[in-house]
């Protein structure tokens, strides 16, 4: 965990002066932020802007998970990576961009696939988890691991010209399984690699996701508790939906959970934990 910081250095005061001026944030919020660690699952279209703004604002420690490598077709939306990073691990490419923006942030790149074997170990080392992944099995895995570790999960997604943002496992609100007890039939799942995505849509959603992480980390608390924010880029319209509370019959966060350790999410969902080829031959 992070060294407890009780005051700001002169350089911190200079660097963060524009946000120290905010009454909602101030010195206390900055110190809280500098003590907070955030795990970013996925360094793609959502993870890039999220990591960029959290690092710029002075989050204490940032874990960056991605098993994948930078490809040319990522660059229209994954704005931390550069042309020269093609073929490199996304986690390392993102970490290097983050360091050049704010060298005072502890940055931990993990070039690996989040899995039932490593997820709890990793998530236990962080205060807040941001789900920036791109496939269904990973979303269930991250959810269950957050519930089992008691961590708030700020979850965004984007496809075509739409985006969604919710906070799970936070202040009596639902977890992902409370909303979606059964996984969608694999036939109905469209990923960015087959449905496409307008690059700035994950940009917008990743920034909004960073804002909620920021509000939790600084102590203000998220205003999206038990809410779903939906964005339609075609008509530039946002809509906020009141969600169900935590469900007492939920398989993982309910009163008699049947899921008490991580399971095999690829089998559960019938699809692979990647957005590249969506069906798993079982």
């Amino acid at each position: 965990s992070l060294t407890a910081k009780s005051s700001l250095s002169n350089e911190d005061i200079m660097r963060y002066s524009r946000q120290l001026l905010l009454p909602e944030f101030g010195v206390k919020g900055q110190i809280n932020l500098s003590k907070t660690s955030v795990l970013v699952v996925g360094c793609g279209g959502l993870g890039c802007p999220l990591a960029q703004y959290l690092a710029a604002a002075g989050v204490g420690r940032l874990g960056l998970i991605d098993y994948d490598e930078v490809e040319l077709n990522n660059l229209h939306r994954q704005v931390l990576h550069r042309e020269e990073n093609q073929g490199q691990a996304k986690a390392l490419s993102a970490a290097s961009a983050i360091k050049s923006l704010n060298s005072t942030v502890q940055c931990c790149p993990y070039q690996l696939q989040l899995s039932p074997e490593n997820a709890l170990d990793l998530i236990q080392q962080y205060d807040i988890v941001a789900d920036c992944s791109d496939n269904v099995p990973t979303r269930y895995l991250v959810n269950d691991a957050c519930v089992l570790s008691g961590k708030p999960l700020v979850s965004a997604s984007a496809l075509r010209m739409e985006g969604q943002l919710t906070i799970y496992n936070y202040k009596g609100g639902p977890c992902y399984r409370c909303l979606y007890p059964a996984p969608p039939p694999p036939d109905t799942v469209t990923n960015c690699s087959d449905g496409g995505v307008l690059g700035v849509v994950p940009g917008i959603m990743g920034c909004l996701q960073a804002l909620e992480v920021f509000k939790i980390a600084s102590g203000q608390g998220s205003s999206l508790h038990q809410q779903l924010m939906m964005f339609d880029a075609q008509d530039a319209r946002f809509r906020s939906i009141k969600l169900r509370p935590r469900q007492s019959d939920c398989a993982v966060c309910g009163q008699n959970p049947s899921v008490t350790k991580l399971v095999d999410y690829e089998s559960f969902c019938g699809s692979a934990a990647t957005d590249k080829c969506r069906k798993l031959n079982l």
Binding site: D134, Q164, L179, N191, P202, M230
Partner: protein, 101 residues
């Protein structure tokens, strides 16, 4: 016999692709002896709006996993789910969950 019911239906997150890619539908349900509930609305949608591959929208008597139903900007779970009795002028939204990033 109740009067016809005017509803505003919306589909999003990809669910609109099953409805000619049209996100917004203003519909009128015929008058019937009792009130309309969501269970009956799903049957009506399947018979009147759904052009192809109904199994991508409906499974059994409810929506397929991964579609969230919203009644007047609230999760249908808060409103009685399939048993919610529709009111004239209600907005019902069917949103497919997005997973991309």
């Amino acid at each position: 016999m109740a009067a016809p019911l005017s509803l505003h239906l919306e589909f999003g997150g990809g669910a609109e692709l099953l409805f000619n890619s049209e996100k917004k539908h203003q519909v009128s349900l015929p008058g019937q002896a009792g009130p309309w509930d969501i269970r009956q609305l799903l049957v009506w949608i399947q018979q009147n709006l759904l052009k192809e591959r109904p199994e991508l929208f409906i499974q059994g008597d409810t929506v397929r996993p991964g579609i969230l139903v919203l009644i007047n900007d609230a999760d249908w779970e808060l409103m009685g789910q399939l048993d919610y009795q529709l009111q004239d002028g209600d907005t019902v939204v069917f949103i497919s969950t997005l997973h991309g990033g």
